[in-house]
Symmetry: C2
Subunit: 275 residues, 2 copies
């Protein structure tokens, strides 16, 4: 999917919501536990009821790998099912290795599993990222500023000889590797005030913003500092949607929660003349 | 496996060699391609013929994931097979996510797959690492200084307010999270001269050193700067052993190559009075 197509999808659905499929096998509602593949059955029902409100889905690999190869089968079924819908698909895998090895990760997520995008960790530099960028109309979403407690351990360090903190250096340096048509960045919503600084460095790129909801970020704040003229935001919510109810009505409640966020997003898009 | 047990294993086998099971499905010898699980059949033969010389095995996840769920099945069979031998097992996965999610990665590698150790990326800080440290006698191997070209993009940056480069800050900061009984570090062998600096910060920890062989590092150099009084080194070789031959004799040639390295390691251990 190209950047233009992504913006068209946002305009069509009047939403920039990503549903995080953090489908922890231990949290699947009891009535699905006796099915052949509880995680996939759960995801299928979530997707069926939330896709009118969501432009993207983001399975986090940890939740699948915790079930071993069976989890990977659930993931394969999930990406195949997502392909039936008009949505952008993100493998939240946070991979990264030396060049020859990253090539195989790219193959895993862009060929074996036909995801549109994969999250990648920056620590190992250019050759850990560039193999993913060789795929047409596929995306690297590079970790820049994360929303967790440990973000302060390294990401905020000021670097000598520059006026940048490490996460800003990641934004700047990676401009040499890709562009706004094949790279996005993870920017945690708990740092919404920093979005203004980030937008000075990367005005055009899409940002994947986790942490709205369960992690405490505010959608209005994120929009205020993060929107650009092609929206430029994909805002993720995981637990706040998929586990809003753990009862038999979980998919209906998920639909309701996703719908509430979509309404707010539509209002924001309208206010910013993006529809 | 505890640190003492690991050192005892090194003394018993007179080796600190790790065989990297970077078992690229496209490079498996032709005569195994028609078996049910070529990657596992390949690994099994490599393990059978190299285990007298190796104290550790390290499958890199990328090579398995490139085959999707089938690759994870090969990986599961491989770790189960490795359990029959007296070896230390490392999942080279370079994972790392926010705390709640890293818990699931820890579950994947320490429960679903019973690895002794997993490689973890440091960028997201403490809560991306600490869930792995909650497991008794399991190990985090944190990326510090890698052996690839992109290592220079961020790892060598000097940090303001300290006398440290980023990779040194990773070594120092992570001392607050774990200790030499549950953490090791990845230190690329192409940077052997830096091992002296690194040993000033972490004299006691084990270091996992990739990049000897194919990536150009010298074993003697690594030993000179990196050995400590419990050996403190696990030196990895992947392609130089497992793909030394791609013909029907691949396992025999792998055995020969591993044996040559073990001989050199035995000499080094003797010279340093570690046997």
């Amino acid at each position: 999917m190209t950047r233009t197509e992504l913006f068209e999808l946002i305009q069509k659905k009047k939403s920039f919501l990503c549903v995080g499929l953090d489908s922890d096998p231990d949290k699947i509602p009891v009535h699905l536990k006796n099915t052949d593949d509880p995680v996939f059955e759960f995801n299928k029902r979530i997707i069926d009821r939330t896709h009118p409100y969501a432009i993207a889905y983001k399975p986090n690999l940890a939740f699948y790998e915790s079930n071993g190869s069976a989890g990977w089968i659930s993931l394969e079924k999930t990406i195949n099912y997502l392909k039936k819908f008009d949505v952008f698909t993100i493998a939240d895998a946070k991979r990264g290795d030396i060049g020859n090895t990253s090539k195989l990760y790219a193959k895993a997520f862009f060929e074996q599993l036909d995801f549109d995008a994969v999250t990648v960790a920056p620590y190992m530099g250019i050759d850990s990222v560039s193999p993913f960028l060789e795929y047409q109309n596929k995306w690297v979403i590079l970790l820049a500023l994360t929303s967790n407690k440990g973000a302060s351990d390294f990401q905020f360090h000021d670097l000598k000889g520059t006026s940048n903190r490490l996460f800003e250096e990641v934004l700047i340096k990676s401009q040499e590797w890709g562009n706004s048509d094949n790279m996005m960045y993870v920017v945690g919503a708990t740092q919404a005030n920093m979005l203004a600084d980030i937008r000075k460095i990367i005005p055009e790129h899409f940002l994947l913003v986790p942490g709205v909801g369960a992690q405490g970020g505010s959608l209005e704040e994120v929009a205020k500092f993060g929107l650009n003229n092609k929206c430029g935001l994909i805002v993720n919510s995981s637990r706040g949607i998929i586990f809003a109810s753990k009862e038999i009505d979980f998919a209906e409640v998920a639909s309701h929660e996703a719908g509430k966020i979509q309404e707010l997003m539509e209002m924001i898009l309208n206010e910013n003349k993006l529809l």
